[in-house]
Each structure stands twice: as structure tokens, then as C-alpha cells.
Symmetry: C2
Subunit: 218 residues, 2 copies
């Protein structure tokens, strides 16, 4: 009897992530996986983006946290659809959690979906969720050496956002050195520098989102 050889089988998470992406594509939703250390400003960037885009773009958010609904509450206050995932100790979101969250959103009423991952510069990089783009935030107080110490997050992302640039004059952060390290790991990555708090530098980020939305609908 011939032995069946099963080749190139995806792991369960990647399989489920592809299913999520097909669902999002069918609804022409642009999905972004937002990753960063705790306190780098993921929620603040999402809130500022909502404030600037919500008149012309229908936005929804999936919030990943180990515990609490603090971030989901802040987003819900802006009148945006939000689903909270509590991982209960888990250090990253996975595709199954996101599938459950998608089942709790009205997909016909969404253009742009932010998936805010658990605050962690390590584990989330290893798990696809079905997103179209992966965005890593690095805040200025964290220091410019992080791409060397946490390389996977930077090699796996399509965009790097340097946040809290309003603090740059007060801290020893070498912007050029940081960019060189990022580009060394990932030559095609988009790099934005902004302050989600003051709004400084937000326009190129918003233009990039709008271009990505347009190309998904073309």
C-alpha cells in the first residue's frame, strides 16, 4: 500500500490566520496588527487615528490584553466598535482569538480594523492573525538599541512607528542610528516618526493608511 506523504502543511495558527484574512478580504477590510512593548503608545496612536479618520473611514478595534478592559473602554468612548480579548496570562494574541473577535463584529460596517496586540516586544511577532500589515511601535524612552535586542519584531513588520518624539530633546535617542538598524534588518520597511500625544508627525502615517485602504479597494 502506498504511503501518503503530506507536504507543506501549515501549523494550525497560520492556517486559521489565512482563513481570517480571506474573511477580511471578502469584506474589503484593511486589518493592521499593532505590536509594541507595554506603554509604547499603541492605544494612543489608535485613538489619535480614529479622531482624524473617523469622519471618512469606518473603524473598528480588537483589543488584546492579559487582563482588564481599560483600553477597550477608552476606545469605546470614541463611539467606535471594539471587542476586548483577555488572554488570561497569554503573552500574545493568536488567530483563533481573532476569529472569535471577528465573529462579534459587524464586518459589513468596517473599512479599517486595528488589532492591538498584548504589550510585548517578543512573542506577538511569531503569530500571524490574518492581518494585512504588521506595525511595530517603538517609543523614544525605550532606547535606540531595541532592533538589535529584539530583531524578530522588526524583521516581521511592514511598518515601524517611532512614537513619543516630543520627548526626543530630553533623552539620548539617536534617531539616525535607530533607522539604520531597522533598515539593516528590513530594507523595505516603512518608518514613521510621530507623537501620538501631541499629534506631531501624524500626517504621513494617515496618508499611508489611506493609500493602503485605497489599494485594497482598487
Amino acid at each position: 500500500m502506498k504511503v501518503k506523504v503530506l507536504q507543506n502543511i501549515l501549523d494550525a495558527n497560520t492556517q486559521m490566520a489565512q482563513k481570517n484574512q480571506r474573511l477580511l478580504d471578502n469584506h474589503r477590510i484593511l486589518a493592521l496588527n499593532i505590536m509594541a512593548s507595554p506603554g509604547a503608545g499603541k492605544t494612543s496612536l489608535i485613538l489619535k487615528t480614529i479622531a482624524r479618520l473617523k469622519d471618512k473611514t469606518r473603524i473598528a478595534v480588537i483589543e488584546g490584553d492579559i487582563a482588564s478592559t481599560i483600553d477597550a473602554d477608552r476606545i469605546s468612548d470614541q463611539g467606535v466598535a471594539v471587542v476586548q480579548i483577555n488572554t488570561g496570562g497569554g503573552c500574545h494574541l493568536d488567530a483563533n482569538m481573532v476569529e472569535n473577535a471577528l465573529n462579534n463584529l459587524k464586518l459589513n460596517e468596517i473599512d479599517l480594523l486595528f488589532i492591538e496586540n498584548v504589550g510585548n516586544l517578543v512573542c506577538p511577532a511569531a503569530f500571524r492573525l490574518g492581518e494585512h500589515k504588521r506595525v511595530v511601535l517603538l517609543s523614544v524612552p525605550e532606547g535606540d538599541d531595541k532592533p538589535i535586542k529584539y530583531p524578530m519584531m522588526f524583521t516581521e513588520s511592514e511598518a515601524v512607528v517611532i512614537n513619543k518624539i516630543d520627548l526626543m530633546p530630553l533623552l539620548d535617542f539617536d534617531l539616525d542610528a535607530f533607522k539604520r538598524k531597522v533598515i539593516g534588518l528590513n530594507p523595505d520597511v516603512e518608518i514613521f516618526q510621530l507623537s501620538a500625544k501631541t499629534g506631531q508627525g501624524l500626517d504621513p502615517w494617515l496618508s499611508w493608511l489611506e493609500a493602503e485602504l485605497k489599494s485594497l479597494r482598487a
Copy 2:
């Protein structure tokens, strides 16, 4: 035939952590597991502590990083024994890695051992290394809501160090609210507030270390 019932067997990591702790106890070495998000200032606090204590205390460091020897190089420059562990993607140190590092240190020449964990406010909390005390750093730019969102790190630690207090006047960090959240999770925890950069507030931290060293030797 009677069935053997094996009860209360420790998991492999906890077993190995206890072995590490016995080894440290035999050499009267006080070991601290230093945990925090990336960029919170773990290495800076260790460097400042070395500068202040090295004339009277023999200090060594085990450096945990996913990749690179940036932090170990900074510590080695101070003339302190240091062993670098690269986890190669792993999001935390474990007791086996620390056992290997201990085998590469001259234990008879150490009073105080810092074990700097991988920058991650989630995973390191779940793995004992053999340390006597667990210390979590939280830097002011990360925000005062972190104990609610990452509770295990705060329930599992014996000391919390609030770092970068020199930035407090510039940021929305509610120190009293932060302390209330920490004490709510862990009533007996020690809390220090300092700036590893400026040296402000360092004395109570150093006094605590010296008291712990003395009690280990009593």
C-alpha cells in the same frame, strides 16, 4: 500490584530553580531576578548599583537577551564579572539557562548576583530561576495602569522599582494611583522610586540591598 502514586512533583523548571537557589545559598550569594519591559532601565539600574556598591560588595551579573551582547558589554566595561545568555528568540530566562551561567562564574568571589531577564513584562513572571528576590522595574513613560494590565509581574515580585522619575513632571503618571494598584495586588511589596539616570532616590534601594545581604549572612 500496588500502583505507585507520585504526588506534589515539581515541574522541571521549579526543580532546577530550587537546585540553583541551594547552590547560591551554599555560597551565601544574594541573587536578584530583575524583570521589566524593554527599555525600562534594568541595565542602567544595575550599572548605577555597581558604581555605588562595588567598593564593598563583590557583584556579578547574568545578562539575558534574545540576541546581542550590548548590555553585557556595558557591564563588563565596569570590571564586573558577567555572563551573557542569548535565548535565541525565547521570551524569558529559565532555570536551566541560569544553571549554565552559574557554572561559568566564580561563585566564591560573589556576594550579590543580578540576573537581568529578557525585556518582557509578561513571560518572565512565570519562571523561577533560583533567585532570592524578584524585582520588577516600571518606568514612568510606560504609564501608571500597568499593574492592572500585567498583574502577574506585580503579584510575583518582592520589590517594585519605579524608574525614570526625572521624567515625572513631563508626563501624566499618577504616582499615588500606581502605588495603590501595586499594593492592592501585593500588600507586602517593597516600592522604590528613583532615576537610574540621575541617581535621584537611589539610597533607599541600596539600603534595602545591603539589609538583604546582611540578613543572608546572619
